[in-house]
């Protein structure tokens, strides 16, 4: 994809990076970009699907640095979404310095962020959704919420996600699916679902006693003159990746037989288009598309991958619409005689500075945040370094969290989970409570302090590593590698489980980790019940408050071996 728009942006930003005097980089980059440009689309047929996924409760515009590593293994190596930086630009024909290069890669990240500003903001997304509904006709547009919507901010934590429920209601989704939603616990999830005007779908959740479906699997809707079936797929490994005790009656899994049966049933009921609204993760859905027949479009989430256009697997289109509100995914379908005959797709990057906020949504966002505004704005520190989370092995935010846990809990080592949610702060930014909670807001935040033997530490690392790099995507759970403080190691993703992690070294002494020796480890987000310790957000508020200014040196302690 190479449009005139990209070229103009490239020219403008290239100029500002070269330091033309008296030239505001921000203004120049944005002069080239308009709301109409973002909405420009090669419309097809009548039906439009809009996909918003993995918002992680981010109502306001934000910075989100894309990862430096997103390694694919086996058949999935080196193909989207396992491309980053220059490789991504080359594969998709994007110019370095263009708006899309900034949205999709970490190349020149800080300069690009200062030039193009923040992405996202649900009031901006609402403007885009409304414009597309006006363009295509309200009834022809289905907005689908891919889940991980109700968790990830201070206000979502304090309101038990009511802030997100109230804001999302204004967007009038046709359906949603879940993952982190379940960490609100069974009662709250059921309470919210009862209040929704749209279905919460899951083809792959059954109750533990009778293995009967817990949720509706399918919603069949009339979109204009097209009959569309939406089938939902929750994150299959929620009870493994997150605390099962919070929703003990529900069993998940891929359940492809149930999915195939639901697809077939939808076709029998007259569905001309079958959409899978999925929280499986990209590679899982890529494989699933070749094993389950009859799905026209998979709107995929969970792994936070953003791919500029939908990818074809056989007769199935897969659209991966990123995370944190950075993008709105759009697929247009032409349907003739009950079959999809043509399509067009795009991720629309939500450049917050050039999109007029939707007033109704902006008012609602202000309303839900207002009771907490003084606390949200409270400055707890300042950073000299770029703070971000994404990356297969580490990110500076987690480096900071690992350091904070070791110091505050007097531990030799620390573990921070490989979550992919959390926003980015630029060098020179203040750190507010709002910022801290984008990294830490969740319902099982206790920081434990335990002794593990070196052997056990190796087992844990190997186990997590296999969740990330198992060559069969159906065994991948979708997060990144657990971040380790105080210890270096090498990782060979292509190796077999049990032999990927080597050269484990205690950084304090430079000594190898002894399998038989016990080490004091601090960590957070344990899936076990009754974990004791301070909440990670309180611990980090204390720790950050003690530092004059945050400086995180580049992390050299994990060596990646091919």
């Amino acid at each position: 994809m190479h449009t005139r728009r990209d070229f103009l942006q490239f020219a403008a930003v290239a100029a500002c990076l070269n330091g033309v005097a008296g030239f505001s980089p921000r203004a120049s980059a944005q002069q080239q970009l308009t709301q109409d440009d973002l909405l420009a689309f090669n419309a097809k047929g009548k039906l439009t699907l809009l996909h918003l996924t993995d918002l992680h409760a981010q109502l306001k515009p934000l910075y989100f640095r894309p990862p430096s590593e997103n390694i694919g293994v086996g058949d999935y190596a080196g193909i989207p979404p396992h491309l980053v930086g220059e490789d991504f630009l080359k594969h998709f024909g994007l110019e370095r310095g263009s708006a899309l290069a900034y949205a999709h890669t970490m190349v020149d990240y800080v300069d690009m962020a200062r030039a193009y500003g923040r992405l996202g903001g649900l009031d901006r997304t609402a403007t885009l959704v409304n414009a597309i509904r006006a363009e295509r006709g309200d009834s022809n547009v289905l907005l689908l919420d891919g889940g991980d919507t109700w968790q990830g901010s201070y206000t979502a934590l304090k309101t038990n996600a009511q802030d997100m429920v109230d804001c999302m209601a204004l967007l009038k989704p046709a359906a949603m699916v879940g993952h982190w939603e379940f960490t609100l616990g069974t009662d709250r999830v059921e309470e919210i679902i009862d209040s929704l005007d749209y279905p919460f779908l899951a083809s792959n959740i059954v109750d533990n006693d009778w293995e009967e479906p817990v949720f509706e699997s399918t919603s069949i809707v009339q979109a204009g003159d097209t009959t569309v079936a939406i089938i939902g797929q929750a994150m299959p490994y929620t009870p493994i990746a997150n605390p099962r005790w919070m929703f003990p009656q529900w069993s998940f899994g891929l359940r492809l037989e149930a999915l195939q049966a639901n697809v077939d049933a939808a076709r029998e009921q007259g569905a001309e288009v079958v959409v899978l609204l999925s929280h499986n993760g990209f590679d899982v859905d890529r494989k699933l598309a070749s094993e389950v027949s009859g799905i026209d479009v998979i709107l995929t989430g969970h792994t936070h991958d953003a791919i500029p256009q939908a990818i074809n697997v056989g007769n199935t289109l897969i659209l991966a619409s990123g995370s944190h509100g950075k993008y709105l995914g759009r697929v247009d379908l032409e349907v003739k005689n009950g079959k999809v005959t043509d399509h067009s797709s795009n991720l629309i990057p939500v450049f917050s500075d050039v999109i007029e906020p939707d007033k109704q949504m902006a008012d609602k966002i202000n309303e839900v945040r207002a009771p907490y505004q003084p606390e949200l704005d409270r400055v707890i520190g300042k950073t000299d370094s770029l703070l971000y989370r994404r990356g297969n092995f580490n990110g500076t935010w987690d480096d900071l969290i690992c350091q904070g846990m070791m110091e505050e809990r007097d531990a030799e080592l620390s573990f921070s989970p490989g979550f992919r949610w959390g926003t980015t702060l630029l060098p020179g930014d203040n750190i507010t409570i709002d910022d801290l909670y984008t990294q830490t807001a969740m319902s099982y935040p206790q920081v434990y302090r335990l002794e593990f033997t070196g052997e056990r530490i190796k087992e844990i690392l190997e186990d997590v590593c296999d969740n990330l790099f198992n060559p069969d995507p159906f065994f991948q759970q979708g997060g990144d590698m657990v971040r380790v403080g105080g210890m270096g190691y090498s990782c060979a993703p292509e190796a077999a489980m049990g032999s990927r992690i080597n050269n484990m070294t205690l950084l304090a002494t430079g000594e190898p980790i002894d399998p038989n020796k016990s080490y004091v480890v601090a960590g957070w987000a344990s899936v076990n019940e009754d974990v004791e310790g301070p909440a990670i957000y309180d611990l980090m508020e204390n720790y950050i408050g003690k530092q004059d200014i945050i400086k995180v040196e580049p992390n050299q302690s994990v060596k990646f071996t091919g």
Partner: protein, 149 residues
């Protein structure tokens, strides 16, 4: 696989002689597994057949892993499934359960839950009334959990 209450009752009724073994000391060797298999088949080599074994790809709870088996069969006097044995090759004792059927069973379908000590292959072997044996195997991963994004 969508198991209904009826299926569960069928399974319970069929599983008149379901043998369960708890976790004990050492893990089974492949020898133990092969011996159990041989005792069951009388030395016959099981082939591929219309036998479906349903297990999760990754166990949510290693102490209670759902497992179900289904054998396509007319279930007549002349042509029916006699029994299905389930083995867990990485457990201290590999025998999990044996479900017995007859032409009166209606269908050869059963489900239960098993404990899995670690990541391992779960094997199902069906014995047919004509003396044929079918075998199928699934790998089930037992993981520490946590850290999901």
């Amino acid at each position: 696989m969508n198991l209904t209450r009826r299926t569960f009752l069928t399974a319970s009724a069929s599983a008149a002689v379901a043998a369960f073994f708890g976790s004990q000391q050492a893990f089974a060797s492949l020898e133990d597994l092969n011996k159990a298999l041989n005792d069951y088949t009388g030395g016959a080599e099981p082939g591929e057949g219309p036998l479906t074994l349903t297990t999760p790809e990754i166990a949510e709870n290693g102490n209670s892993v759902p497992v179900s088996v289904l054998v396509e069969s007319p279930m007549t006097e002349d042509d029916h499934v006699e029994s299905v044995m389930i083995l867990a090759e990485g457990n201290p004792l590999p025998d999990v359960a044996t479900f017995h059927f007859s032409s009166m069973s209606g269908e050869a379908k059963a489900s239960t839950r098993m404990r899995l000590a670690k990541t391992q292959n779960v094997v199902a072997v069906a014995k047919m009334s004509n003396g044929d044996f079918y075998k199928v195997s699934n790998n089930v991963k037992v993981t520490i959990g946590g850290c999901g994004g």
